[in-house]
């Protein structure tokens, strides 16, 4: 029995190790080619393919905007569920929909935004960075709500009672007792949601589309790391495929950094 389970564990580990191996093997050398992080992709098939600067910055901009949208709303919804809605039918209905949303394939969020915002040319443009950010925010929202609700429920009800018994209005209990007590847990959950959003390709495919050059105009198309990987890896030219590997390693590294921060904050608060 023990041997079988050990074998199963090894079988599960093989692809994980191979993924990391291939990322490093194929991607790491790209990091040391000149201009990889400091120039933009040229889009030229035969000449110098350029670097990935616009993809990194584009991803960061779009995820930052998605974070600004999803974290406050998500924590707000979680606060409503734990502090006000509790077990009312409305709160339970919201919980049910949030659970359903967690399981919705990410491409559906892209499709939804494509129909609502892109084909309607809302805001005067078709594909736009901010529309991708909205799609990512929709994807991150249920993750934020679920993780925040779990953390908020960990705040002992005795603390809420203590504050209420001192004559505190409920909103002050929320802001001065519940939120400070659960701050590190909320941060951890938010960072994990950000890491998740950072790596998503599907919601960006037909909302942001892509661009080669660097732009910070949120109403225009923008380059992103997942999209760059998607386009470059399908190129017939090896030099461009290699850019995809270098980008993939960069993306994984950034996601890893977010996860490490999340773990660091979580372990600090429990200590």
């Amino acid at each position: 029995m023990r041997g079988t389970l050990f074998a199963a564990t090894i079988v599960a580990l093989i692809p994980l190790v191979l993924v990391i191996y291939y990322l490093l093997h194929k991607g790491l050398s790209l990091w040391f080619t000149s201009g990889f992080f400091t120039t933009d992709p040229t889009g030229s098939f035969f000449g110098n393919p350029g670097g990935i600067r616009s993809a990194i910055l584009g991803s960061l901009v779009i995820v930052a905007l998605a974070t600004v949208i999803s974290i406050p709303i998500g924590i707000g919804v979680a606060l409503y569920l734990t502090e006000y809605g509790k077990q009312s039918w409305f709160a339970n209905t919201v919980r049910y929909f949030v659970d359903v949303m967690t399981g919705v394939p990410s491409i559906m969020f892209g499709l939804f935004i494509y129909i609502v915002l892109v084909t309607s040319r809302f805001g005067g443009s078709g594909y736009a960075a901010w529309k991708g950010a909205v799609a990512l925010a929709l994807l991150m929202l249920p993750i934020v709500i679920r993780s925040a609700e779990v953390v908020l429920l960990l705040v002992p009800s005795s603390l809420r009672e203590a504050a209420l018994a001192l004559g505190a209005p409920r909103w002050r209990v929320v802001f001065q007792v519940v939120l400070p007590t659960s701050l590190s847990g909320l941060l951890t959950g938010s960072l994990l949601a950000i890491a998740r959003g950072m790596g998503e390709t599907a919601p960006l495919l037909f909302t942001v589309a892509t661009a080669f050059g660097l732009t910070f105009n949120l109403n225009s198309q923008m380059n992103t790391m997942p999209f760059l990987i998607f386009t470059d890896i399908t190129s017939p030219r090896a030099a461009i495929q290699n850019i995809a590997w270098g980008t993939a390693l960069t993306l994984v590294t950034i996601v890893l950094i977010f996860n490490l921060f999340a773990r660091l904050i979580a372990s600090r608060s429990s200590a």
């Binding site: 006000y84 509790k86 077990q87 002992p156 005795s158 603390l159 009672e161 203590a162 504050a163 209420l164 018994a165 001192l166 004559g167 505190a168 209005p169 409920r170 909103w171 002050r172 209990v173 929320v174 001065q176 007792v177 400070p180 007590t181 701050l183």
Partner: protein
């Protein structure tokens, strides 16, 4: 947010609740006078009924809690002692599905009147819980000051108030050199006295204590009991306890409850030496409960 932070409005509500009665600093909005020498106020329950959903937890309870006295509530688990106490400062209604009918009066103030603000009621009627529950994110100082900060009350002499509050619970000398360190770093007994200081700092008229010493060691318990004896000079105190020796030591009068009803309410000495009701006698002599 449901309750806007209009402290002045809340205060106005209580005054409008209509009554000359508790001339507390909170109710009048006047600056705080010296805590010492303040006359206490009586609490009267009349035909109080409380429910948890369909469960009828307390039935037609009528009790008078005299000013500046300690009244103990005793009775077996589930007899409704805690519920009675939680009805007095309207904490009962925080439990989903819970409701109460009947009348609770603080002198002339009808605590359940529709125009009375619940947060103002709770500032007049402080509460100490069974388990010490200092705020874990706050320092010792901030815990004592929490009542003011959580109600948006500005105080010029916050340091002085914290000093006086800690001194009145006998904690000042133990913590004066580490006011900035976390409140949860204290021992259990110190934490409970910190929680009492936190309650004293809002300068209530009445202090409710729900088994305040049941989670503490005997020495800490003794300190809390001595403290109760001092606090009754200034406050009306209602204490729920499972410990009958404790009731006998600290309470002027004692109420014996059973299955949500008041069985007997009399001088503590009479309850413990010569009770009128046979059920009281059986309980205080340890034959059941």
């Amino acid at each position: 947010m449901n309750t806007p932070d209009t402290t002045s409005k809340e205060q106005a509500d209580v005054s409008a609740g209509g009554t000359p009665a508790p001339q507390s600093p909170q109710a009048t909005g006047a600056s705080k006078p010296a805590v010492t020498g303040k006359a206490g106020h009586a609490v009267n329950l009349k035909d109080l009924n409380a429910y948890y959903g369909a469960e009828h937890a307390i039935k037609d309870v009528t009790i008078d809690f005299p000013a500046n006295e300690v009244t103990a509530l005793i009775g077996p688990s589930g007899s409704g002692k805690s519920t009675v106490v939680r009805c007095i400062n309207r904490m009962h209604e925080e439990i989903p599905g819970a409701r109460a009918t009947g009348s609770v009066r603080l002198d002339e103030l009808d605590v359940y009147a529709p125009d009375v603000d619940v947060t103002a009621v709770r500032r007049l009627i402080g509460m100490v819980f069974q388990k010490p529950n200092p705020f874990p994110t706050m320092s010792i100082f901030d815990n004592v000051a929490a009542g003011l900060r959580l109600t948006g009350t500005k105080s010029k002499d916050l340091k002085d108030l914290v000093h006086r509050s800690l001194q009145s619970v006998g904690l000042w000398d133990e913590v004066k050199d580490r006011l900035g360190s976390p409140g949860i770093g204290l021992s259990g007994g110190q934490q409970q006295r910190l929680c009492i200081a936190r309650t004293v700092a809002i300068e209530p008229e009445v202090i409710l204590m729900d088994e305040p010493a049941s989670a503490l060691d005997p020495i800490s318990t003794l300190k809390i009991e001595e403290l109760i004896d001092e606090l009754k000079e200034r406050y009306t105190i209602v204490i729920v306890t499972h410990n009958m020796q404790q009731a006998a030591r600290v309470a002027n009068s004692t109420v014996f409850m059973l299955e949500g009803e008041v069985i007997e309410h009399d001088e503590t000495t009479k309850i413990f030496t010569n009770p009128s009701d046979e059920r009281t006698e059986r309980y205080v002599t340890g034959k059941f409960g």
